[in-house]
Amino acid sequence: MNEYKLVFTGTTGAGKTTAINAVSETPTIKTDVANTDASLDKALTTVGLDFGQISLTNGDRIRLFGTPGQTRFDFMWKILAKDAFGIIILIDNSRADPLADMDLYLTGFLKELETIPCVIGIGRSEKNPTPGIDDFSIRLAQRNLILPVIPVDVRRAQDVILLIDILMAQTEADMI
């Protein structure tokens, strides 16, 4: 029986817990506490991790981890990303500077991104079309990163599944 790990990260409110809920076979375990940061329009915030799970027919398990979004918890990012088979960065395009948000996580996971596949999911892009997907691609290329960027609505399981499928395709490409 093998254990695999998948990490969802991104800004607070980008949909990490929702994304895990969309595919986890168990209710997501959360470490939410009361938010005291007035700059965040949220009652609760994740301070430890979110946890979900997928079990396969052969007994293999995939543990789904959601990281806290704020940078003061970046020690958790590294702990959770260790030995992950993929990292999904979720961006909320309704925020003031989504490109800067993406930069934050690219920097925070810089070491991990040298080897671990990663896909960027842009949420709320229908109502907030700028920056566009190509703007994210250009920013990534400026950082010498070629990562898939796709618009998603993580309330839809199919979109979350697509993100995971992309990570698998990246891993398969790395095997050659």
Binding site: L56, T57, N58, D134, L140, L147, P151, I161, M168, I176
Partner: protein
């Protein structure tokens, strides 16, 4: 040849117009002999429907109609099949051009051996390009992971060389591709033994998630 040939079009959507425009502009084989027009005289016309009236386009006498058809549809005349393959349009236009001026145009078949060329994406492609075919995103994903040959892409995707080459041509036309000559691989690509458990895992996970990798 001093005057350009005009390829008229009818009923195409913008991404298709952009794609064809780029093919005409960047193909070394066509050598800028053709331009895309939507009115006036044309030397050939690209269209979805067999209209008799192509106005505001004016077909020159004997100018052929290139029908856009779905791949697999039988058609005896000039056709451009969807999903589009750039080299098919190029071949058709060269044929039309040589019918018109057989002594002036020579096919410039480069002795390029595509199979050893190494490709790498310069940046993630725009959504309008990836939306031209449902499998383009997957090819872009493979190509985003370091350098790949045409053979690598066909091995990973299960698609034909022609299909993968069509994708690579499109990426190249939009200046999204780095290419360099590579050395032929001495042995066929084999998946390392350590990768097999992971492939089995992915197969089971895809099945669990309801993904059909066809």
């Amino acid at each position: 040849m001093d005057a350009k040939l005009h390829l008229g079009y009818m009923g195409l959507i913008k991404p298709e117009i952009d794609l064809i425009s780029t093919i005409l502009r960047t193909s070394s084989r066509l050598d800028n002999h053709w331009i895309l027009v939507d009115d006036g005289e044309c030397d050939a016309i690209l269209t979805y429907s067999a209209e008799k009236d192509f106005s505001p386009l004016i077909l020159k006498p004997e100018a052929p109609v290139i029908m856009i058809k779905r791949r697999g549809e039988a058609f005896s005349g000039h056709a451009f099949y969807k999903p589009f393959r750039a080299d098919e349009l190029i071949d058709t236009l060269i044929l039309i051009e040589s019918d018109e001026q057989p002594s002036l145009h020579q096919k410039n078949e480069a002795a390029t051996n595509h199979s050893h060329t190494i490709y790498r994406l310069k940046k993630w492609p725009p959504a309008e390009l990836l939306s031209l075919h449902k499998h383009y995103m997957l090819l872009a994903v493979y190509l985003s992971r370091g350098t790949k040959t045409l053979h690598d892409l066909t091995t990973l995707s299960g698609h034909s060389e022609d299909f993968c080459m069509q994708f690579l041509s499109l990426m190249n036309q939009y200046h999204l591709l780095d290419r360099e000559a590579g050395r032929p691989k001495i042995a066929p690509v084999h998946l390392p033994d350590v990768a097999m458990p992971k492939k089995n895992f992915f197969s089971l996970l895809r099945h669990h998630l309801g993904l059909d990798k066809s």
